[in-house]
């Protein structure tokens, strides 16, 4: 909070310049076009992780984000395939559908705390997978395949976003889409956390009874936070379905839910931008270790354990310790 306004603005501008100009320029210069896909995934996963982070912010451990990502993906895929909707319209619908579902589910389960909430949300991921397998509309284990690429989006005859199928480089388009959404998402998060609601959420994290006794409507707040969290999950799932042009019950599993949570932990639970950094490090770490072949998971998890021993409060806590010393 001690950082002054100009530094903040400079940092934001620098960040935007890097993701929108420097990274595409560097990629086209070096010719590593597959990096687009990696970075798109990082951006999307960090949106979902941001949602998980928000539930951490109200003091709940959320291991159920995979369920909403899967739901969002299916909602978008079904609307596009069966009802011929435009992808751009399904994107907010998928998010809102997830938010509405999460309100219904959240009302009872948000009364749970600690490990109980963690375990229930973990089970929720499994429920989503089983539902996707059992429901007739989701086409079972075969999933929904060959979803068309997002079409053009035009308002009053002006084309805002061109048809992805006609683009030469749809990877770049997806990258820009994902990064834009990520920036918007983290802007919302930052605004939310530094608002009155954010402060109230923090009071929930510390002591719900106390907050409630002062007159904070805790039931309302936590449902709102959970709904926003699920909205992010749904949106990121919907874009994932569009990029891979397919969705299966196994697209988002318990492992993904756990990973969303790990991203938050790794970045640091006390920092809004923690999930972004955590996702970047974890995803890239995993990708880089691909060359080690069968030892990939061993090294990856080993490093994670070591990191946890050295920096149990997340990567961003490094900055904090130096600031304290200074």
């Amino acid at each position: 909070m001690t950082v002054n306004r100009t530094t903040k603005i400079a940092a934001v501008v620098a960040f935007l310049a890097i993701v929108f100009i420097a990274v595409p320029a560097a990629i086209s210069a070096s010719g590593h076009f597959d990096l687009y896909y990696t970075l798109t995934s990082v951006a999307l996963l960090s949106i979902a992780s941001a949602g998980v982070w928000l539930t951490f912010y109200i003091g709940r451990i959320n291991i159920g984000q995979g369920a909403y990502a899967l739901t969002g993906g299916y909602v978008s895929a079904i609307l596009v395939m069966d009802h011929g909707w435009s992808f751009w319209l399904t994107l907010p619908v998928a998010g809102l559908f997830c938010a509405a579902t999460s309100v219904l589910i959240g009302l009872p389960i948000l009364r749970l705390r600690g490990v109980y909430f963690a375990m229930v949300t973990l089970v929720l991921t499994e429920v989503a997978r089983l539902l996707a397998l059992a429901l007739p509309i989701t086409n079972g284990a075969k999933g929904i395949v060959s979803i068309p690429l997002p079409g053009a989006l035009s308002v009053f005859g002006i084309t805002l976003i061109p048809d992805f199928a006609t683009l030469q480089n749809s990877r770049l388009a997806f990258y820009l889409l994902a990064v834009t959404l990520m920036v918007v998402c983290f802007a919302i998060m930052y605004r939310l956390v530094n608002s009155r609601i954010g402060k109230l959420c923090q009071s929930l994290q510390q002591n719900e009874e106390l907050a409630s006794s002062i007159g904070v409507n805790i039931a309302y707040l936590r449902v709102i936070a959970y709904a926003v969290s699920s909205f992010f999950g749904g949106v990121s799932g919907a874009i994932f379905a569009a990029i891979s042009q397919s969705i299966y019950p196994s697209s988002f599993t318990v492992t993904d839910s756990v990973n969303f949570m790990l991203n938050c932990f790794l970045g640091g639970l006390g920092y809004v931008f923690g999930p972004m950094l955590g996702t970047l490090v974890l995803y890239f770490g995993w990708d880089l270790l691909f060359q080690t072949g069968q030892f990939q998971l061993l090294i990856y998890s080993g490093l994670m354990i070591v990191l946890m021993l050295v920096l149990p409060n997340g990567l961003l806590s490094l900055a904090e310790t130096t600031r304290k010393k200074g």
Partner: protein, 288 residues
Amino acid sequence: MEQVIANGLYLGAQYALIALGLTLIFALMNVLNFAHGQMYVLGGFITYTVYGQLGLPFVVALLASGVTLAVIGALMEKFLFRTVIRRSHREESTMLLAAATAFFFDAVILLLFGEKQRGVPKIVKGVFNDVGIIMPYDRIVVGALAIVFIAAFVLYMQYSRVGRAMRALAQDRVAAQLMGVRVDRYSMIGFAMGAMLAGVVGGLLVTITGVNSGIGGPISIKAFLMVMIGGAGVVGGAIAGGFILGMMESVGLTVLREYGDVTYLVIFAALMVFLSVRPNGLMGKPWG
């Protein structure tokens, strides 16, 4: 009908034993051990190696599973969890550690034992077929052994010095420390015992269902379910949760057969409703 109940009891006995280990670790350390299923798989593979490959008696194999896992559990507590709990601002950080160890075990198991489904020769041959129940003898033996282990565990917790210390620790860590209980030592023993239970069940069940490297995660989820039903951190709750889940699975598989593979969906839905009425499970302490 008798068949359904017998199956339920058999499943319940195994499940209860799995849940006991998880709940013990949770009660003592407030750690949700994500790696519990992986410990189970590791125990299964050790029994497979000792009994199936080397041809040593089954009892030796079971002992080997238990002892190896106990050692691993003790080391994990001493070098990983204790350090992180001391250094971290938030208790939940142990979950990252637990998840990381789960991945680590997965990797180790995959490297050491491969991804193939492994089974061992039956420990007892023949099938029991009377009073409307058909059940292979080896299942009966395994079920009975599981019940014996559960009873032994409960008696040990109730009457031994170590058990008393651990119960004190679970009730109130600080108070136990003030009364002169060596908290660090008993946390370690508790973690080792929890891991040992997982290993022993793995060893028992490899004789019936076999084992493969991918079942760790699903087993962990089942264990979480049981603990939620019974209430986290309570021995009685874990046993009750295990038998309830075993029964529900057995009944569900029979009753819901014509609707396809929906048993677990129904169980999950029922659990959600149950937990919204009783957030702490059957016997859990408020807020774990």
